[in-house]
Point group: C2
Chain length 424, copies 2
């Protein structure tokens, strides 16, 4: 152990390197057979740090919040051996098991059994294994100003089942943490598993050496944000292709989703989708919003704001023909959201057909249909909901392949679509 110049860094205690194979080899640790048809055959995902000899994955629970958990132990507020009391926490609505859970093809980035661990792995838990849910299912009432607007203008009418008199919509909510089966993730990106492991390790500056030293651990709990689902109507109906499904897959945009920034269409499209989901559920269908923590196309918000500045200040000002170029100059790519993993959650829900997809994204459409889910209709954002300064974004995207039933702008039209400068 190294010693700092002031002696403070001297390690007085033994550091348990998790990559040491002693005591946590195949013996005694439940194996994970990803894609097995039953929970018993699949085996539990065990990411506990309390008893390291039980671990059968790389990484920690709670996505990036695992760092805060560590901080809580360091600060002395959390006992490191605290075991969650899961009394009364089980899902309000049972999802699956669905046929898509078996086979290791449809789902590689979430644990299909993650909501029901207390039930399906109760034997292990009784034996003392610390197994934690990676999915939680609850119910809520959501109350949005945009839904009040829809009520005021009679676009929606309360039915006291899906939409209450006070404007609240009744939903089932699902929170999902990422659980990556590395062989399957590698296959999605057409890269060898060993290359994926090596690059994940190297390009994060050396996060989790086990990625390259423990090829026997095939599951990784990455420290990234997860997903949230909002379901309108009966969650069981999602798996029934005869029930009309209205769905939007939405990627986080804090600036618009929360603060209403007018440079993009994110919140208006999201609230429009919620309105469509409510209407669909009221007329015998079911609705779904799948919300992913992928801020700024998964480039993060610092990069996003740098790109805004470059767009607004470039010669000629912000214009639709240079929309993607500016992102590429700063970030090296146009997008890091990797829609390849996004359909997993749809398969987890048992979805086979999306009757109304409230999205114009060609990347999302392709990822969904390539994964074997049928899409019937694609629903555009109504033009009156596009903020003036967001015309640059929407025109650039349509020219790049986003769905439209209108005119695709040509080069002249793109160059002529201008955004606001900083001086206005």
């Amino acid at each position: 152990m190294s010693t700092g110049k002031d002696g403070r860094h001297k390690q007085s205690r033994h550091i348990r390197l998790t990559s040491h194979p002693e005591g946590q080899g195949p013996d005694g640790v439940p194996a994970i057979h990803w894609g097995a048809a039953s929970a018993a055959e699949r085996g539990p995902v065990i990411g506990t740090t309390t008893n390291r000899s039980q671990r059968n994955v790389i990484g920690a629970h709670s996505g990036s919040y695992g760092v805060y958990r560590a901080l809580a132990v360091a600060a002395g507020t959390l006992l490191k051996d605290h075991k969650a009391d899961l009394t009364n926490t089980s899902p309000t609505d049972v999802i699956g098991p669905n046929p898509q859970w078996a086979g290791a093809e449809k789902i590689v980035s979430i644990d299909p059994w993650g909501a029901s661990v207390a039930d399906v792995f109760s034997d292990y838990i009784a034996q003392g294994y610390d197994i934690r849910p990676t999915i939680a299912v609850t119910k809520a009432h959501i109350n949005l100003p945009e839904i009040h607007h829809a009520l005021a203008f009679k676009r929606l009418v309360p039915d006291n089942r899906i939409l209450l008199e006070n404007g609240s919509a009744v939903v089932t909510k699902v929170a999902i943490e990422p659980v990556w089966w590395l062989p399957g993730v590698a296959k999605r990106f057409n890269v060898s598993e060993s290359d994926l492991r090596r690059i994940l390790f190297e390009e994060t500056g050396g996060m989790y050496p086990e990625l390259v030293t423990r090829s026997d651990f095939e599951v990784f709990l990455p420290p990234i944000g997860g997903q949230t689902l909002y379901i309108f109507g009966n969650p069981r109906d999602l798996a029934n292709p005869d029930v009309t499904l209205t769905a939007r897959v939405h990627d986080e945009c804090n600036g618009s989703d929360v603060f209403g920034s007018d440079i993009c269409t994110c919140r208006p499209y999201l609230t429009h989708a919620i309105e469509e989901c409510v209407r669909g559920a009221q007329t015998g269908g079911v609705g779904l919003i799948a919300y992913s923590r992928k801020e700024g196309r998964a480039l993060g918000e610092v990069t996003k704001f740098l790109v805004y500045n470059a767009r607004k200040r470039q010669v000629g000002g912000d214009s639709a023909d240079k929309y993607f170029l500016r992102t590429e100059c700063v970030a090296g790519v146009q997008d890091m959201r990797f829609q390849e993993l996004m359909p997993d959650v749809l398969h987890w829900l048992g979805i086979r057909t999306i009757h109304r997809l409230v999205s114009m994204s060609n990347d999302k459409y392709r990822a969904i249909t390539d994964s074997g889910i049928e899409v019937e209709e694609r629903v555009k954002i109504p033009e009156e909901l596009v903020p003036e300064d967001a015309q640059v974004e929407i025109e650039a995207k349509i020219a790049a392949g986003y769905y439209t039933d209108g005119t695709v702008p040509d080069a002249d039209a793109l160059a002529g679509t201008k955004g606001r400068g900083f001086d206005k």
Copy 2:
């Protein structure tokens, strides 16, 4: 290097373990002297993975989005040696330098020079060092339904400077990634640096062995979410205690902030604070919202939903007297947000007095005032903005020490404050 049972995991290429000291020792790598008064003395934070010999920190840029960046390299969409073209990306508004930037006491979790690297470290960049901004400053117009409501009811009036006729507020936005100086973070939590490093490593299941092997690297870029600031009025006025500052420090609650869930007061309090900030800036003051990615008290959303279920299902139903207990049973603690680090951003802005703090949180108040910032007035959420089902939360918090100018509920009142069940 290990070989998998099927031979696929055999590593054909050399794995560059970042903890190898060769070629990146003190020689040639710019040193970081945290808290030095000038950028030149402080030195740049270099988290590049492109040229590992330049690195002087543990971790990677972009917080948790560093994992997506690695995925982009693995998928072959991003060249690993891409260097950001920072043309036109510089801050729209210059923040600091402020006196609080010097001394290593006031700021330990963000890099005060993070917005201006292209300027203050231009020499290094010219020499080929890959130095990236960890802070970005831009301008935006934000348009919220709640502000339209305030306009309709004449609580706000457009002035065409802070608030436009179309209901948009003009703001300066700042995105900030976490940059932790480990000796300073340890001091905040009253723990030794070596214990902090060891526990961060162990309790994340072995993230970044350099935490324990490289005590010469004092800076850590943790894979967690960052912060966003929304400034109403002139950002320079934040450092002037003679200009009335209205401020809210708000921790992410996706379910309420975006979707309007009625079980808590998060979005109503946030939009009330924005209204107060607009009004304050219109009357010669300045406004600030500091938004931190600390979902569900930094426990993450899965834990949050598990707690919701336990609250709604417990014997006697959801009630204010058991509000904190249910979180503790599931998570082991009531809260992991660690307001100890939160005031850093206020000091970065040069704030010495908050004239109107739009928050009732005793934890936030104590952290702010303990850090040496004066708070004059605390602004409650107006009672009419508290959703009915959020009475449990607000009463429990007031009983636990949240600010109120009204009655603190006693045990009977707490037990009598009930939330909705799942059957309603």
